[in-house]
Symmetry: C2
Subunit: 414 residues, 2 copies
Amino acid sequence: MMKMSLSRNVCVVGAGMTRFHHKLHAEKQGREIFVEAALEAVASVDKGFSLRDTEALYVGYFSSDMFERQAHTSALMADWLGINPRPAVRVEAACASSGVAVNLGALAVASGLYDVVLVGGVEKMRNLDTSQVTDTLAMAADTSYEAAMGFTFPGLYAAIADAHFNRYGSTWEQLASIAVKNHVNGALNDKAQYQETIMEIAGKLGERKGLKFKDELEFLRSELNPVVAAPLRLFDCCPISDGAAVVILAAEEVANRYTDTPVRLLGIGQASDSMALHDRDDLTTLKATTLASRQAYGMAGIKAKDVDVACVHDCFTIAEIVASEDLGFFPKGKGGVAAVEGRTGLSGDKPINPDGGLKAKGHPVGATGAAMVVEIYKQLRGQAGRRQVKDAEVGLTHNVGAAGATVAVQVYGR
Amino acid sequence: MMKMSLSRNVCVVGAGMTRFHHKLHAEKQGREIFVEAALEAVASVDKGFSLRDTEALYVGYFSSDMFERQAHTSALMADWLGINPRPAVRVEAACASSGVAVNLGALAVASGLYDVVLVGGVEKMRNLDTSQVTDTLAMAADTSYEAAMGFTFPGLYAAIADAHFNRYGSTWEQLASIAVKNHVNGALNDKAQYQETIMEIAGKLGERKGLKFKDELEFLRSELNPVVAAPLRLFDCCPISDGAAVVILAAEEVANRYTDTPVRLLGIGQASDSMALHDRDDLTTLKATTLASRQAYGMAGIKAKDVDVACVHDCFTIAEIVASEDLGFFPKGKGGVAAVEGRTGLSGDKPINPDGGLKAKGHPVGATGAAMVVEIYKQLRGQAGRRQVKDAEVGLTHNVGAAGATVAVQVYGR
């Protein structure tokens, strides 16, 4: 059965990412934005780092096949980084691709074969139009039993929201509060796709239509925030994005070559659940989140209450609420209330998605798990600037594939 | 730099595969043939094995995206195997996907986190027609600088053959001898796509056209073996196949739960080379094969001459000749001569591809690396039946992605 520890400890010694954006990278290929992120990770290493120090590369890329008609993006990235003949591996686990890749990188270091590995993720989604992107993402669900019946991800998460509303009395206003909070945070993050609060956006969009909104809710209830899949509206959905993120992992015994303040990977977890939503007993929870986080907590020797800051997978606003419960931050059914009370804001008792989350930062799917590690790395080193969570000592990343068929969790400490 | 050992030793304790075929699996999905292979692997375990003993799953699948419009095939396979919530990872490294997956599985066991993992590969290619398959496979080359210019894999390997002919005086007749030998072996393998010698095929095809052939070369020079990309003809190319293969890896200290005669994984290696062929200094060698095999030999503490039986990546006949040199079995430029002399036949001094190789056994690309391990597992346990290599104690697998941008090698011992 699952062991509680690795053969040796693993640290993060560098981290970088491109800005996530829907237009900025239009003229670039995935290989170019991946290299851009890697070079920022290299530049972030306190005592310097040469790409030639890399002993292996793990790349999360959900569907280079569909987005770029390019596969074998492991070897491609190694080639463009100039690190041949180092071994390279592409990892695909839907939107959890690079969260899973980080776990693999950690196991590779723990195995004793490598001391230093590069782990990252990338997605170049905006080569396709929105409906093509939606169809491509739907390949992460069960193509035969879900996508073929017309179920795409907004619909799947809408079903989760419906179930949560019915079981716990959660409300759309609670969902809206997640979007508001994540845009507030995104406005403080120069890597975010949307660096504006929802009131700022409401002002701009309203002006074009001759409309004025007294608060966020009035805007979010308006025609400018149309229903995508009831009860989810446009601002309940993360955007489509291009981007890349890369982190550098090192065995604890060599980490001090690179920095005096590494961030330690205290625990990892990963779990699978049924591909198809209709095979689940309970739609109000992602069982794989619960199991993966308990593994990570167990390995780290901590409890949910010890987490000071978390990046959770808010592909839809409901997903953040469900995650905040399944991770053990709040009792089941109370995630929405906690969000409305501001407990997950930057100055709350359990800050979630200080970087703006998938909602405001963007969600180039293969890059998201690694980008969460970039944020936690900054937060735990006190380098998060205007969005710094005070006294953050323990951080968590939570990366979900599809509607929870794969979940990868990591716990980090100073 | 690269270590010479893992934190703990890893064994193979079970192995199974479907038949590889272009028609047999037409009505099945990838998930179904993967499960079929896994169940055979389970049934092969001497002292019994429950799928619930699996602690993690690694799946090589090159392009489920294009072939089945299905991604996230990690979680899908875990679901269909009934092993949720065990973590699952899809690995993509072109035609080396499951060879790389085996290396990852080994690192995962070595890391101390898991004692028992399932590693396999699958490809369901025959959903597409031949030209679509060729285009999909070309995504494993550099889409922008090779495929976009019309280079597909027969052309890339034809360039390698041309270079080898020019440099070393190798001949098309030497290539033909590889096809002849691999069909002889495939005829002895009930999992092979083609279980007929080339003379048997020549007899059947000739009869339809009213032609008779006195030997293989006359047939292979005839119009019935058309040129695909000079100098490569149809029988120089492996076929398009559906299929799956799965192996069970266990930490050495628990292997005796499952069998008294495990096969030990003595060494692993993996290397990357430039994606585009035009970036290479020398087309007559796959540098990544040389490097990956030297890593594996080093970890195993053996030399090339100690290998008793090898499965090498003969996607085209020239690839087997080049591999037999790069792996150190024969001096550079002498692989073709060695093949013609029968040294790589079942009773030669260096038997290669006793299972028929990709040429006759078939090449469902994601499954090929794992299928090589299935064969070596049988050979080293003396269970290879009519194609058993006498006194095989050390076996090697050599799995190539694209034209050598990724190579994974393993060395196994009794």
